[in-house]
Symmetry: C2
Subunit: 385 residues, 2 copies
């Protein structure tokens, strides 16, 4: 059997584990079935969106040292689909030769918001000014820093653990635990960039994405890719995102969220060391999707192309306010009649207000068509009970 | 909970079973994860390409009445990824209210080559002239009908069960069992068309595909979609394919393979009542892939769009001659560097000469680029051991 790393590729199947079984794991496993790879997944809930799409499902707690260590022993590589995993176990596995994407050191930096902000500062990555508060008293003592955003150092996810503190009156809403107090930036635009890094240090950057927010509800309305940005701002965005990933010194896939303020300054908001909601359009819209790309990284293949096949928008399907229970997708049939629309339902049995239940991708050469259909979808589909 | 069939869709998950666990099942299950559906799969081999991608894997013999009947009881719908299933069990399940795609009556017609040819004749669908032979003596007695192709009535698959009988000297290669003796047509082109039919009789036809053969080896070299055909021939192709599907009177997805002769006559070669190799490019190249489309049919959604996003070609990766054993994909890394190429490896542990081990899709606006890359892939990738 040929064994050189050059023209030959050996198919004794690589064993790759995923920690976490949500929609990111689900889409990662859909993409895995294009390659010769044996997949392992650990998650507490056997009914989670990804559990049925792997070769080996292991019930376990991804935050528990022993569970993660036992899961990872004997695997060739591990990735995560959520940051809240036991990083000590990953460090031990890494020291024993298991390839981890992202590296535990990078994960450690990112998953603690205090360390993450300090990392930007230490590496001269532009980010909003901040203070560190250990408890509610320290927040009170820094009221001159308001208006600001209070972000819990650990444990926040999907909007939880983040609190806007406009004035002294809001201080009681702050966190009585280690947190970052971040100066509020007057945001003109929010942008996201996804970058893949191979084991050999090759990188591939996806076109920047426009994240369009409903300012009234402070909710992501839809995303458009590629972002419409003046060249100079785009250059800043790409330079900053590239620097973040270089400084993290880890292979894997990274999503960098950035703000543009009214003076066209660009700041990093936060980084995720994994596949990310802001890259879901790449499944249909780009030659190599973010999920395909991560498999290429983990299996040692060449990086894929981040070029667009067609521009795209996505709309997240969130559980509607006031509905908890078995999910019903109102308006789905109407949307499935639109030619250039792709539906992704995550297979979660129960909906809850704000829960990510699916997303819908629109492809079109025309920006107007993307925005039109995004709004139509938002006004048509509701996840209720 | 709303129950009307109109604007509301109920997500109490539909239970759908697949008989057979090869690459077609694998790609079908990749597509299933976009929808709320609970998947069941039956196959003897728990290591088959699709086994790990369903909610419920049931080990069983798809040719056995009891196995298929027990599998299907309690499911909402069943589809097949291979014709050689127990159709009597499907008939019983159908009579008990399980929706079967395709209908057992259509499957029965198609899976027996004698019945299939007779169906074309009865419905005035143009097809090559034929005789029916019950044994080798009847073949000998009809030597004036040569040159012809002898096709076993049942049990043939992927080239097995088909024998070219040019002259009397070849008669010993014929089948001593019920078979069709089909007059050899001088073929100018081979074309395939995939059509979806919904429960309500709506149809969606994919653009016709050019199947390019190596005449020397009589092997499919690659496929290009859409086919380049004079309008008049295309009309014939579409009219004939449409008639076949209408006359079969079944919902589901159907692949119709056709010949064009040197006088521009169009003949049906054969029909498959399922997703098909000639539609694999639709995964990336069309808005709704053949796999997505079959889920839409089975879940009662509107049919998707068969329009091209970009033209495409595919190359099948077959096990190389002379190699049997654990598969190695020579040249894969080189191909993965091409921007507009998508790799699908089916995850079969063992290769054998001629075994379908994967396929590679190329997307491009330029026909020349499609053909160039198809040839490059054919000359670069080899499945060996």
């Amino acid at each position: 059997m040929p064994t050189s790393a050059g023209r030959f590729y050996i198919c004794a199947m690589t064993k790759v584990g995923i920690l976490g079984g949500g929609q990111l794991g689900r889409m990662l496993l859909q993409a895995a079935a294009n390659y010769p790879v044996e997949t392992y997944l650990m998650e507490n809930d056997a009914g989670c969106p990804a559990a049925h799409l792997c070769h080996h499902f292991i019930s376990g707690d991804i935050k528990n040292f022993d569970d993660v260590y036992q899961f990872g022993k004997g695997l060739d590589a591990i990735t995560i689909e959520i940051e809240s995993v036991n990083e000590a176990a990953l460090e031990k596995l890494e020291s024993e030769g298991v390839r981890i994407y992202p590296k535990p050191a990078a994960l450690k930096t990112i998953k603690n918001k205090i360390l993450q902000k300090q990392f930007y500062k230490d590496n001269e990555v532009p980010t909003a000014d901040f203070l560190i508060t250990q408890n509610i008293n320290e927040l009170t003592n820094n009221s001159s820093f308001l208006p600001a955003v209070h972000k819990l150092a650990t444990g926040g996810f999907d909007g939880r653990g983040v609190q806007v503190i406009e004035t002294k009156d809001d201080i009681s809403k702050g966190f009585d635990a280690p947190a970052v107090l971040e100066k509020m930036v007057k945001i003109k635009k929010e942008i996201a960039v996804i970058i893949a890094v191979s084991d050999t240090g090759d990188t591939a950057m996806y076109p920047a994405v426009d994240m369009i927010f409903d300012n009234r509800l402070n909710l992501l309305e839809y995303q458009v890719s590629p972002a419409v940005l003046p060249e100079k701002i785009l250059w800043k965005v790409e330079a900053i995102a590239g620097k973040v990933v270089r400084d993290l010194q880890s292979a894997g896939i990274f999503a960098i969220e950035l703000f543009v303020d009214h003076n066209d300054n660009v700041y990093v908001n936060e980084t995720a060391p994994r596949v990310h909601n802001s890259g879901h359009h790449t499944i249909e819209a780009n030659f190599s999707s973010q999920f395909d790309m991560l498999w290429r990284v983990m299996l040692g293949y060449p990086l894929g192309s981040t070029e667009h096949i067609l521009p795209a928008a996505i709309v997240n399907l969130l559980g509607a306010e006031g509905y908890s229970g078995e999910a019903v997708y109102e308006g789905l049939n109407e949307i499935l009649q639109i030619e250039n629309v792709f539906v992704h339902i995550y297979g979660k049995k129960e909906t809850r207000p704000g829960r990510k239940m699916g997303h819908i991708t629109i492809l079109s050469k025309e920006k107007q068509e993307l925005v039109h259909q995004a709004n139509r979808i938002k006004n048509t589909v509701r996840v209720i009970t």
